[in-house]
């Protein structure tokens, strides 16, 4: 849908924030969307229960990459507790596009959040509805 590709999204896609890796991350976690093979890896530096730094790498569509860019921007500097509580609704708000009616694209948008939560909780995988 054209609607997905707003300026705002495209800007994050073309000029991603926090793209890259960390040398000594406290947590490093990677998730794959098996429906399309997209991958997001997050390197997170935690100090005093606060996310001091976070970087994302991987490959995927504009939606998943823009979502990772926005999420990392939003979450950096927050406490781990706050990050754990960050909901999928908040992320979708941030992205600002009506993804709820497209299950496939929703998965793209939520991939980075899934990676974040699985990483912070230290679990292997996470279902969409647990976000």
């Amino acid at each position: 849908m054209d609607d997905f590709y707003r300026e705002y999204i495209l800007e994050h896609y073309k000029y991603p924030r926090n793209r890259g890796t960390l040398e000594h991350p406290t947590i490093s976690h990677e998730e794959t969307n098996f429906l399309c093979g997209d991958t997001v890896r997050l390197d997170i530096l935690v100090e005093n229960e606060v996310i001091q730094d976070i970087r994302f790498s991987g490959q995927g569509c504009a939606i998943s990459m823009a979502s990772a860019s926005m999420l990392t921007e939003e979450i950096k500097g927050r406490s781990v507790e706050e990050a754990k509580a960050f909901s999928k609704e908040e992320l979708l708000d941030l992205i600002g596009i009506p993804l709820d009616k497209n299950p496939m694209r929703l998965k793209c948008a939520l991939l980075s959040l899934k990676t974040l939560k699985a990483g912070l909780y230290g679990v292997g995988a996470m279902q969409d509805e647990e976000l």
Binding site: M1, F34, L35, K101, N102, P103, M104, R105, Q127
Partner: protein, 416 residues
């Protein structure tokens, strides 16, 4: 017999019948009296229109498409899974797997769960009133792994002999698979009690709900079972769709059944990683339109109310038991009262073959079934190779019972 109709004012059956186009046709010059719902029900216009609408407006393959049609088809398909879950009181739609029919649902358990959990010397407990679809898959499993089958008997009133559980349920029993409502005798079995007993020895409990889910409120939590199987075509839905419900943690631990598209995460040359439930058990392109139309059928049944349908069928069955019982030479097999029984009854007529009964009734426009109704063990217990079966649903009326009785009198005149 307009009067008779008014004796069961649970819902307005004559108005409701208008939803079923097939019921308004003539067969051999008589209005069709369809008394074979136990084999397969008829469908309301709403379900037929749903199929038409789906194919005319929104068909596409599900799950992987990012374009609008596929999106809509996927949402409708998953919404239907939710309707099934809600209907049977499942904890989550993820516990519902779409299959072709109840038969495939039971085979899925026998193959996927069975092969992983049943070992040589283990036992599977069935009853003598099971449908072949709840016997043969277990026989095949037993033969594959070297397990054994046991059977609970039923008594002269068509009730399970629960005392049999005392010696048949042992530590070796891994599965108890029981029909909820018999498609022949009409008996409704005490599933919660049997499930409790099964769990006491560590066995799982599968309920064959092919004949109960369409006709009464069924709640898997109240039944206390681990698996439930049913068929869409017996509950106002299309052919080609049915479902298996299973406890989430049991499904999660089960290996897949059919392999193919959708049910995988990663495929490599020698091995694959499988998707989560329920998709793990839905290989290939599912019966999309059929699943969606099953959702519409469930909406329809909920609209009338399953409690009401059940009540109405009780009234009709009581009437039929009474009227048929008065036809000379007719023997009804199964419970003679409506307590814990559904609207399906089998009978024999002294010296007259069921095929002749069904053929002659067909000449009167009355559709009943003759044969063993996929319950040969049950018929062997009854001591007859075949019976005639009349079965009712929300669209049947007392007048059809009267026509059945008149038809049987004609049979006697012709063949005696």
């Amino acid at each position: 017999m307009k009067n008779a109709v008014q004796t069961f004012p649970i819902f307005d059956v004559l108005t409701l019948r208008r939803d079923f186009p097939i019921l308004h046709q003539q067969v051999h010059g008589n209005l069709l009296a369809f008394l074979d719902t136990a084999a397969s029900s008829q469908r309301p216009m709403q379900v037929i229109e749903c199929l038409r609408d789906y194919y005319s407006r929104c068909h596409a393959n599900v799950h992987r498409g990012v374009y609008k049609l596929s999106e809509e088809a996927t949402l409708a398909y998953e919404r239907s899974r939710g309707k099934v879950a809600h209907l049977i009181g499942a904890a989550s739609p993820r516990e519902v797997i779409f299959t072709r029919n109840a038969t495939e649902a039971i085979n899925l358990v026998a193959y996927a769960w069975g092969s992983a959990n049943v070992r040589e010397g283990d036992r599977i407990l069935l009853t003598m009133m099971e449908h072949h679809s709840n016997i043969v898959p277990w026989q095949m499993l037993a033969q594959r792994v070297g397990a054994h089958l046991d059977y609970v008997r039923f008594d002269g009133e068509g009730r399970l002999v629960l005392e049999d559980l005392d010696h048949l349920l042992t530590e070796r029993t891994k599965m108890v698979a029981v029909v909820h409502q018999s498609n022949a005798l009409g008996t409704v079995n005490p599933v919660p009690e049997i499930a409790r007993r099964a769990h006491e020895v560590g066995a799982l409990m599968l309920v064959d709900g092919a004949q109960s889910v369409p006709h009464m409120p069924v709640n898997v939590q109240e039944l206390g079972c681990d698996f439930l199987a049913a068929s869409g075509h017996k509950m106002c839905g299309p052919t080609g769709i049915g479902f298996l419900w299973g406890q989430r943690h049991i499904l999660d631990a089960m290996p897949p059944f059919l392999g193919g598209g959708s049910m995988i995460k990663v495929v490599e040359t020698d091995t694959s990683t499988y998707a989560d439930v329920p998709v793990r058990f839905e290989a290939g392109t599912p019966a999309i339109a059929e699943a969606i139309a099953l959702g519409t059928a469930i909406d329809y049944l909920n609209g009338v109310g399953l409690e009401k349908i059940h009540h109405y069928e009780h009234e009709l069955t009581a009437y039929a038991l009474d009227r048929l019982g008065q036809v000379g030479g007719v023997t009804i097999h199964g419970p003679h009262t409506v307590e814990a029984r559904g609207g399906t009854l089998i009978f024999t007529m002294e010296g007259i073959h069921p095929h002749d009964i069904a053929s002659i009734l067909d000449g009167e426009g009355i559709a009943v079934r003759a044969g063993h109704h996929c319950t040969q063990l049950l018929h062997r217990v009854l001591g007859v190779p075949a019976t005639t079966r009349a079965s009712f649903y929300l669209y049947n009326i007392p007048e059809e019972v009267d026509r059945l009785v008149a038809g049987l009198e004609k049979v006697k005149k012709l063949l005696e």
